[in-house]
C-alpha cells in the first residue's frame, strides 16, 4: 500500500513538474558557452549592440540561419532557445535601468562582453548581470550612503523590484516591516514613495489599500478579503495592534455611525459585566486586557460612563492597579475627570 502511495506521489510530482516550475533546461537553453568556445563573436549574433540604443539586440531567425542553414525546425528560433521570461526580463531592464551598451563598450569592457555577462562561461541561460556584477567596477558605497539609486534605476517605486538581499520582503512582512524599518527607515524611501506609508498609516487615507486593488489578490494583504467581519476578533487577539495605525477615535466614530456604539446602540456586554461582586464584575478585567477596545466605543464623551462610578469617593473604587503612577499633573486630562481639584 505504502509503495503505491509513493509511486502515486512521484507520478503526481512528475505530472505537475512543469506547473511547479521544474523544467529540463538542457534542450531549450541557448548554448552560449558552445558558441563562445567555437569562436563565434558575441556581436556576430547580437548585431548592433556596440551602438547601444533602445533595441534589445536579440538575434533574429535570419541571423541564426546565416550559419544554421537549413534550420532544424521551421518555428522561430527564440521560441525554443530562449527561456520563457528572457525577453520579458530584457524589456524590463530596458524600461527601468539607465544603461547604455555603447558607453560601456568604449571602456575596459570593449571586446570583453564576459566581463559583465559572467554566466556565459557556465553556459547559463540567464545572461543579465546581477547588481553585484555592476559593483565590480562601479564602487557603490557612497551611492548607498547617499541613497542615490537613481544613478542606474529610473524609478524604483515604479520598477517594483523586490530586494533579494537581507532586506528580502518575505514571510509575514507586514508584521516584520515595522521592526526592520525602525533602524533603516530612510532606506525604505529609496524605493517607496511617501504615499506608500500613508496608504496604511495615514489618518486621511481614502480607503483601505486592499479596496483599491481588489482585482489583485496578492496586493495589500492587510485587511483583505472578509476583514470587516473578523476585525473585532483580530483586534482582541492582539490588543493595541490597531493603535499602530489608527487613533482610537477612528474606531469610535465608525462604531457610532454604524449603531454599534452610542446612544442608540444596545448593550453588547451581557450579564455579569457590571455588578457588586467580583464574579459579576467582568468589565474591569476586560478593560485592563484591552483598554483600546473600550475606547473604540466609549472614547471621548463615552468615558464619562466610567467616571460615574470610579471618581474619587465613587462606588467603583480605585481603577488604578497597585503601584500605578503617572507624570501627568492632577489638573490635567484625564486625571481631573475623577480627581476634582484638591482631591487625591
Amino acid at each position: 500500500m505504502m509503495r503505491l502511495v509513493w509511486i502515486g506521489a512521484v507520478v503526481v510530482l512528475v505530472a505537475c513538474a512543469g506547473v511547479l516550475g521544474f523544467r529540463t533546461t538542457a534542450t531549450d537553453v541557448f548554448p552560449h558557452r558552445k558558441h563562445v568556445t567555437a569562436g563565434v563573436a558575441c556581436t556576430r549574433c547580437h548585431v548592433g549592440v556596440e551602438r547601444g540604443g533602445e533595441a534589445l539586440h536579440l538575434p533574429d531567425d535570419a541571423t541564426c540561419t546565416t550559419c544554421h542553414n537549413p534550420p532544424h525546425d521551421s518555428r522561430p528560433c527564440l521560441g525554443c532557445h530562449a527561456p520563457a521570461d528572457a525577453i520579458g526580463r530584457l524589456v524590463e531592464a530596458r524600461d527601468h535601468l539607465k544603461f547604455d551598451h555603447a558607453r560601456h563598450l568604449q571602456g575596459e569592457a570593449k571586446g570583453n562582453c564576459m566581463r559583465c555577462h559572467v554566466g556565459v562561461a557556465d553556459g547559463d541561460s540567464a545572461m543579465r548581470p546581477v547588481m553585484a556584477t555592476c559593483f565590480n567596477c562601479h564602487a557603490h558605497d557612497s551611492g548607498r550612503d547617499a541613497r542615490t539609486c537613481s544613478t542606474c534605476h529610473k524609478n524604483l517605486a515604479e520598477e517594483g523590484s523586490m530586494p533579494r538581499s537581507h532586506l528580502a520582503h518575505e514571510g509575514d512582512w507586514i508584521r516584520e516591516h515595522g521592526t526592520r524599518a525602525a533602524s533603516s527607515g530612510d532606506l525604505c524611501q529609496t524605493c517607496h514613495k511617501e504615499s506608500f506609508c500613508a496608504d496604511c498609516h495615514g489618518v486621511t487615507a481614502p480607503s483601505i489599500p486592499a479596496k483599491r486593488r481588489f482585482a489583485d489578490p496578492n496586493a495589500g494583504n492587510l485587511h483583505r478579503a472578509g476583514f470587516a467581519a473578523r476585525h473585532s476578533l483580530e483586534a482582541r487577539a492582539q490588543p493595541g495592534a490597531c493603535a499602530t495605525c489608527h487613533q482610537p477615535d477612528r474606531c469610535a466614530s465608525c462604531h457610532i455611525a454604524r449603531g454599534v456604539a452610542g446612544d442608540t446602540a444596545g448593550n453588547p456586554h451581557g450579564a455579569g459585566w457590571v455588578g457588586l461582586t467580583a464574579s459579576e464584575n467582568r468589565h474591569g478585567r476586560e478593560a485592563r486586557r484591552d483598554p483600546s477596545a473600550c475606547a473604540s466605543c466609549h472614547g471621548g464623551a463615552g468615558e464619562k460612563l466610567c467616571v460615574t462610578c470610579h471618581a474619587v469617593g465613587g462606588v467603583g473604587g480605585n481603577p488604578h492597579p497597585p503601584g500605578w503612577s503617572s507624570r501627568q499633573p492632577m489638573t490635567s486630562m484625564p486625571c481631573r475627570m475623577c480627581h476634582p481639584i484638591g482631591a487625591r
Partner: protein, 389 residues
C-alpha cells in the same frame, strides 16, 4: 482646492526637470459606501535632489463616522544635498522615528549625517486630522532621533517624541532601535518604545532571520501594552498595564521554482490566556513573472471565546494579453456563534484589463458577516497614468 494643491506641488518641479512628471488617477465606484472615489497621485523629481509628491482624493459621499468627502493624503517636498548628507522634508507626510509609531503630520523634518557614522533627525508639526481640520488649537508633535552605524553591519538609534492634543501631553515616548547583519545569511532587528508619561513599556518587537538555500526561518516576539498606546488624555490610559504578547517562527520554503510554502507558528498571550496562532500558506506562480498565481491559506487564530479558524483561496489567471480573471474566497468560522452566524463567507470575482496607460477592473463581492446576513456589492475601477516623457 485639493486639485490646486496638487498643481502647485507639481508646478514646482515642472521646469527643467530631468525625470518625468507622473500623474495617476484612480476612479473607484462601488454600490456601497463610499459610492464613488477619485484618487489623484502625482510626483516628480528635479535633478535627483528635489522630489515632490501629492495624493488627494474626493468621495461622492461621506464614509461612516466621518464628515469629509475629500482630503489630502500626502503633499510633500523632499530636498537633499548632492552628497545625500542633509535631507529636508516639508508638507504632509508620515513620520517614523525609529522605534516609535509612525505619525501622520503636517510639518517638516530634517535629517543630517554627521561624521563618525552618526545621523540625527528632527521632526516637528501638527498631527493630521480629517478634513483639513484647523479647529483644534495647540495640537503639535515634536521629536528626534540619534542613530549611529556600527561598522558596516548594523546600527543603533534612540528616538524621542512628544505629542500634545489641545495643549495637553497625549504621549511622550522614548524609543530604542537596533538592527544588525550577523552574517551573510543571518540578521536581526529589535525595537522598544517606552511610555514616559505612564512609565511603562509600550511596545517591543524582536526579529531574527536566517536563510539557508531555499529556506528562510524567522524567530520573532512582540509585546504591546495597550494602556500605554492609547493617548494619555484618554481615561483608558490609567487602568493598568496588561501586556499582550506574541512569539513564534515563520518558515518560508521555496519548495519548487514556482511554489512557496510559508508556515507561521506562533503563540498568543493575552492576560492569562494562551492560544495558538497558526497560519499555513502556499503560493503557486503560474508563470515565471508571477502574472498568474494561486494562493491557499489556512489559519487558526484568536484567544478564548474570540478564537476562529479560516481558509482563504485566491487566484489570478491571465486569460489574454492584458486581461486577467481573479478570485478571492474566504471562510471564517468563529468558535462561538453568539448570534453572529456560524460561518462568515466572503467572496470576490474580478476581471481586470490593462493596456498602455489604462487599467480597468470590475468585480462582484458577496459576503455574510455579523453585521449583514447577506451582502452583495459591485466594484468598478478605472485608472489612467500620464507622464511627461
Amino acid at each position: 482646492m485639493k486639485l490646486g494643491a496638487l498643481a502647485v506641488v507639481l508646478a514646482g518641479v515642472s521646469s527643467a526637470t530631468a525625470d518625468p512628471l507622473r500623474l495617476r488617477g484612480d476612479a473607484l465606484a462601488t454600490t456601497t459606501s463610499p459610492a464613488g472615489l477619485l484618487v489623484l497621485d502625482g510626483d516628480g523629481t528635479l535633478e535627483d535632489r528635489v522630489t515632490a509628491e501629492a495624493v488627494v482624493w474626493m468621495a461622492s459621499q461621506r464614509s461612516p463616522g466621518e464628515d469629509v468627502t475629500g482630503d489630502v493624503l500626502v503633499i510633500a517636498i523632499r530636498a537633499r544635498t548632492r552628497d545625500g548628507k542633509r535631507t529636508v522634508r516639508v508638507g504632509r507626510f508620515v513620520s517614523s522615528l525609529g522605534a516609535l509609531r509612525p505619525l501622520h503630520l503636517d510639518g517638516g523634518s530634517l535629517r543630517v549625517r554627521l561624521p563618525h557614522e552618526v545621523e540625527i533627525e528632527g521632526v516637528a508639526g501638527i498631527p493630521v486630522v480629517l478634513g483639513l481640520g484647523t479647529g483644534r488649537a495647540w495640537d503639535w508633535v515634536v521629536g528626534g532621533r540619534v542613530a549611529r552605524r556600527i561598522a558596516d553591519t548594523g546600527s543603533i538609534g534612540v528616538a524621542y517624541e512628544q505629542r500634545r492634543d489641545r495643549g495637553i501631553r497625549a504621549s511622550e515616548e522614548l524609543g530604542v532601535d537596533v538592527g544588525a547583519e550577523l552574517g551573510k545569511r543571518t540578521d536581526a532587528a529589535a525595537r522598544l518604545a517606552y511610555d514616559l508619561l505612564g512609565e511603562g513599556i509600550a511596545e517591543v518587537g524582536i526579529t531574527a532571520s536566517h536563510r539557508h538555500g531555499a529556506v528562510r526561518g524567522e524567530l520573532y516576539a512582540t509585546q504591546r501594552s495597550p494602556s500605554h498606546l492609547v493617548p494619555a488624555t484618554s481615561l483608558f490610559s490609567v487602568i493598568g498595564d496588561v501586556p499582550a504578547q506574541r512569539a513564534g517562527t515563520v518558515i518560508t520554503w521555496r519548495a519548487a521554482p514556482r511554489l512557496d510554502v510559508i508556515a507561521d507558528l506562533a503563540c498568543l498571550r493575552v492576560d492569562s490566556d494562551l492560544a495558538p496562532d497558526v497560519t499555513g500558506r502556499a503560493r503557486l506562480r503560474l508563470d515565471d513573472r508571477a502574472a498568474g498565481t494561486v494562493t491557499g491559506e489556512l489559519r487558526r487564530s484568536g484567544v478564548g471565546a474570540d478564537a476562529w479558524i479560516g481558509a482563504r483561496l485566491a487566484a489570478r489567471v491571465p486569460v489574454a494579453r492584458g486581461v486577467a480573471i481573479s478570485t478571492e474566497l474566504e471562510l471564517v468560522i468563529p468558535d462561538e456563534d453568539r448570534g453572529r452566524g456560524a460561518a462568515w463567507p466572503w467572496g470576490l470575482v474580478a476581471a481586470s484589463w490593462q493596456r498602455a496607460d489604462w487599467e480597468a477592473a470590475i468585480a462582484v463581492e458577496a459576503s455574510a458577516t455579523p453585521e449583514y446576513r447577506q451582502r452583495l456589492d459591485a466594484l468598478f475601477q478605472l485608472s489612467r497614468r500620464w507622464s511627461t516623457k
